[in-house]
Subunit: 190 residues, 2 copies
């Protein structure tokens, strides 16, 4: 039911790129991979057709946002999905104005990516999350993202987070990965 899609993945982390490419390729698409902007552009020149592009916003020197326009110029029907380690709303708005189809924060699985590509973003997000996440969850996710942007370097992540290295260590140990908080304690009313 799915004709092979031609997909361009631009991700500067080589490992993550290959991982993601494999996961995507196994699913549905033929995937070209680039690790920076110039590589992406040269691939663009070689391609006769492109259905979708998945761009890491953080490409070392380059900014994934700057690839949106060239891609859309060459392949107007190509759907462009931005990925970013930790998203900012301003960046999401900017990406969308430049023609991006959707915007995701890492970590994003292959199905996340495909879902985001196939979704109609204009109709998403209409429902506001009713309950803000708990502080603990927010902290945990932020820690994970920070850790990831620092390649798992605990010392630097701790410094970036503004907490002691020892404290980060302890916190990481305490939450091996355990509980998912999905308790929807429904507030009586708002």
């Amino acid at each position: 039911m799915t004709e092979p899609m031609r997909l361009l993945l631009v991700e500067d982390d080589a490992l993550l790129a290959e991982q993601t490419a494999r996961a995507l390729g196994r699913r549905v698409a033929e995937v070209n991979v680039a690790h920076d902007a110039s590589g992406a552009l040269s691939i663009l020149d070689r391609l006769a057709h492109l259905d979708a592009a998945v761009l890491d916003q953080n490409l070392g020197q380059d900014n994934g946002l700057d690839l949106i326009t060239p891609i859309r110029e060459r392949f107007p029907h190509c759907k462009v999905l931005l990925l970013t380690g930790y998203g900012s709303i301003a960046a999401a708005v900017a990406a969308t104005h430049r023609g991006a189809h959707n915007y995701l924060t890492k970590p994003a699985s292959a199905s996340d990516i495909l879902d985001a590509l196939n979704a109609d973003p204009a109709s998403l997000g209409t429902a506001l999350p009713a309950t803000p996440p708990s502080l603990q969850r927010l902290e945990w996710e932020h820690i994970q993202r920070t850790l990831e942007t620092h390649d798992g370097n605990i010392s630097r992540a701790a410094e970036a987070l503004g907490i002691h290295r020892r404290t980060l260590q302890r916190r990481l140990k305490k939450r091996p990965s355990a509980s998912e908080y999905q308790r929807e304690k429904s507030p009586s009313k708002d």
Copy 2:
């Protein structure tokens, strides 16, 4: 550039609406205010001209996003700014796809709003913050947002955040950061 702008503000909280309208009106614009979608639509019918619209995404029953299309249909050059208590990236993307010019999270001062209206969102947010915000800052902002969604009710906000009410009290009193941030202008509350 001080020609009077005609601006439509849609905000369901009456107090906040009036406050914001006054602040905006004092600055630059003639402001019409609506508190729900139908009110906004009827104002739209009466207007011959509209430069900008500021929509709260959370309009009780209604969703501010659904106003974007009618506004843009009637006034294609009207800039539309979405406001939301705590933003989600998905909602920001959806709003932009529907034609919104920009997307802000509360609290937003009048100058924040005007800046966002005048900014070129396609060029903003291109620079990712290299360093993730400190945990303290993240927590503080999340606390503020949560507090706001609960109308300043400390008890309920604490419960939503998953921390003790006493702890929230103490944290609020300490009022840590706010010095680290670049600028926060005193809202014109007189």
